[in-house]
Symmetry: C2
Subunit: 158 residues, 2 copies
């Protein structure tokens, strides 16, 4: 779905709402307040178990980069903290072996949405990321195939 990453398609049911944002997700994004966090998980992320005590929204067939880009059209990142976007760090065994080009896409998307750019992107070790994801208001389960294509974002104010 690469070409989706070059622009955000608009929903057929509402004006100006990105196409891949479901009614449930639109409601959840609106419910979230300052400091609340949202996790966007890739196709291998244990979204349903990590999110079993919060809200899990399915986005099967969609990618994390497209979803992040769409969400950030509506969702302000938190400017009261240095880091408002968090990636999952490579596990020891994957360092030097697994490439993470999707991180470059995340950085581009964050830079387009927030003038702090990649400077607001932090990271958590894998199991720490899971613990932080459990505290998120919502976990979006995408079908992203890119490894380490998970991201947590923290909501700011308009």
């Amino acid at each position: 779905m690469r070409q989706l990453r070059t622009h955000v398609q608009v929903n057929d049911m509402l004006k100006g709402i990105p196409k891949i944002i479901s009614p449930e997700l639109l409601k959840v994004l609106c419910e979230m307040g300052h400091g609340d966090r949202l996790c966007i998980g890739d196709g291998n992320f244990p979204a349903e178990s990590v999110g079993k005590n919060s809200i899990v929204i399915r986005a099967d067939g969609n990618g994390c980069a497209e979803m992040l880009e769409a969400v950030l059209k509506l969702f302000p990142l938190d400017r009261h903290v240095e880091k408002s976007v968090f990636l999952m760090e490579l596990t020891e065994g994957d360092v030097g072996k697994v490439k993470t080009p999707i991180w470059d896409e995340f950085a581009r998307i964050v830079s387009e949405a927030d003038d702090r750019g990649a400077g607001t992107i932090g990271s958590f070790e894998r199991f720490e990321f899971y613990e932080e994801a459990k505290k998120c208001y919502c976990v979006i389960a995408t079908g992203e195939s890119a490894l380490y294509g998970n991201v947590i974002i923290q909501k700011g104010v308009i």
Copy 2:
């Protein structure tokens, strides 16, 4: 999402399951029995109102052709009836004005899944289609932008 229409990507969580089929949809497809019908609605289809007494599954960001192709990898069409696939006919005002290239994609996909090919494809007038959709076991709400990109399929036996 054109290139998705050329092949079916596989789910990251289960072997051999098309990527755009959510866990809920997989469960529903398995629950359905002989003669049960499934409606796949496009981005403008009133899926939530038509399906308010059945099951509505969101597939935002996905197209009807991709969804039909993915569903038919698992779902057998009914061979006990002549027509097991139904399109929505153009309304009087759209005849001769609106093109429906997605119907060609539907025909190709049905032909790949069933040796009766396009011969098993029928149609309903718009409001008749809505009434038939209300009787479906499930309505899938896709983000398909193509006009008249709605389809109802009837389940057969393996």
